[in-house]
Symmetry: none
Subunit: 189 residues, 4 copies
DNA sequence: AATGAATGAGTATTCATTCAT
DNA sequence: CATGAATGAATACTCATTCAT
């Protein structure tokens, strides 16, 4: 078989203009794959599901962390959107975080697994900032004790998320509720 | 020689009398490897660290669960020993469990990862039994609220263990203390 | 754990007097294992089923061939017994061989797989001798053509056995009958 | 590097353009290895002989069957080419099949070993179709009896192939001829 | 900049064979 | 002479990462 023989049916190289699309497809695929198979899912699965070459994945996201950061950026945005609404409560923020953990434990795995990583730390800080901003109001409203600090809330979410991750899919919400019921007692005034 | 042709200098065959030593070495190695690299650590690393052939590992422990069960049997024994002392408290038992989780999160990973396994379930039950037995006294002593149930304690340990597992080695004890401080408020009367 | 610790519950060493029993158990186990899992079945399975140590297996039978030879000696004996009866026919002998092949293709695998082996060749010769002895009468009776030679019969059995070996368990007898129906036409006068 | 850390001098990555060459090399290697060591030969040997990484082998051929199907596709093509020639006879087709079986018994092993596999069944059907198409002419020419059916021919080939597979390399052709001489009597009018 | 094939180290597991007791 | 544990080579398969095109 000579050199140029049988080039195969590779996907059309759509050129540089496809870069943005590819990136978006990768991020979406990563969300799905991480949700389905966990944070340690093979990266090749992400590329495949995105319909994108392995090489492109590595060009956009040189490692797992950068991909995860991009994949879960939306989580933080939604959280900030919620927090930005003046009528939103800390409880609602925690609920959203819990829902996100239920949907994909990989989010919290990323946060806790690379705490020192300069790309991850800002995310953790943004989450903390949200909680810190919402906390005083919730304390005034008598929902949380005066001694509760934002780090406590983060730790609670971390614990609930860890619990959920080990819980079979079907009973995650129920388990999360059990855990929060207990933790609320700890956080109440 | 139909398979396994081998010229090289194989390890000295110390004979069947080494079986017990090997088993013990494997268990010890498993404790170390699980502690260092987590429950999913390669089994080959255990064999290597034990100074034992792969085959011997599989002879003694046909799968990961059986190895883990053996590796952590001591944890439960120590716990039962402690609980058997009339003057020991639930708090002490929880502290011991926490220490064990700090030493190796794999213990709790095993418990939660194979809840249905007939070799694991009895271990979980033994732990639960200890907590259940110690709880009433602790409640009478005013250390825990009357509504606290053994399952709550188990969930708390699970959460703390999950938290620890994701915490860098150096600050595990401190983190565990923070978490328990919070949880005690939830469990207090 | 000290040297003499935990000697384990090894089977009672019944001493030299058990040699004969062990040999018999191994032969019987080999028949069963070869029949169930084929000629390439693990030898360890034979030892296990015989309730005998691996070492004893190797002492009695230093390799797979010697074990197989012993295991299938009975096949040849039964065949010779049948052939020794003056009223028995070549057809009956072929039927018996076919039944043996159906019961365990390993018998023929051994014969054809080690044709040159000095332990196997005599067996093949004994089978050939039987066929050679019975053939003339069958030819006189008009069951086989005058040009048929014993080697032809052996080849036919080999082919049928090979066919059976590749046939799913359930339809072996039926397949063998189809094959023999065809071959009989070739062998008929 | 989360896995597969590699310092050593790995083979030059010849890039995607080598895909076709690699595939061809794998197919060729498979033919050789299957011919030499049988259908159960280690796949790693195929990769090694092809001068190709393990991963490439698995990329091109995810399992043994797909490799074997590719390796023996040529066999069927040649057979169909022969059958397509108006002057070719059934005898010639059977001869070619026999030659192929002599060259590599793995071809027939594949056919009989995965009868139900959707990748293998069409191949078996193509062979059957060829025989079915050539049979009537051969019957008219007085070479085969009127009662002979294509399945009979397939069974014969299966038997001859099985016989050959167990025959030492040197005398395969001679053995095949002996067998066919016998079978032709069965198939003759 | 996209593509996807290439690479090989790593992991789990099996089994023939040896050997101390 | 029996026992059965020890040994490690071999095999299948996966996946992170690189790289020619």
């Amino acid at each position: 078989m000579e050199k140029g023989a049988a080039p195969g049916a590779r996907r059309q190289n759509r050129g540089p203009s496809a870069a943005a699309e590819n990136r978006a497809a990768l991020v979406a695929a990563a969300r799905e794959v991480f949700a389905a198979d966990g944070y340690e899912a093979p990266l090749s699965a992400v590329a495949r599901r995105a319909g994108v070459g392995q090489g492109s994945l590595y060009r956009h996201f040189p490692d797992r962390v950068s991909l995860a950061v991009a994949a879960f950026a939306e989580n933080v945005s939604l959280l900030e959107d919620l927090a930005a609404r003046p009528d939103s409560t800390l409880d609602e923020c925690l609920d959203l975080l819990t829902e996100q953990a239920i949907a994909s434990a990989a989010f919290m795995d990323m946060l806790s697994g690379h705490a020192g990583d300069p790309r991850v730390a800002p995310i953790a800080e943004r989450v903390t900032a949200i909680l810190a901003r919402k906390l005083p109001g919730a304390q005034d409203a008598g929902r949380f004790g005066p001694e509760v600090r934002p780090e406590d809330l983060l730790m609670c979410i971390g614990m609930v998320s860890g619990l959920i991750a080990k819980t079979p899919d079907g009973i995650r919400r129920e388990t999360a509720e059990r855990a929060w019921a207990l933790l609320r007692r700890a956080l109440a005034p």
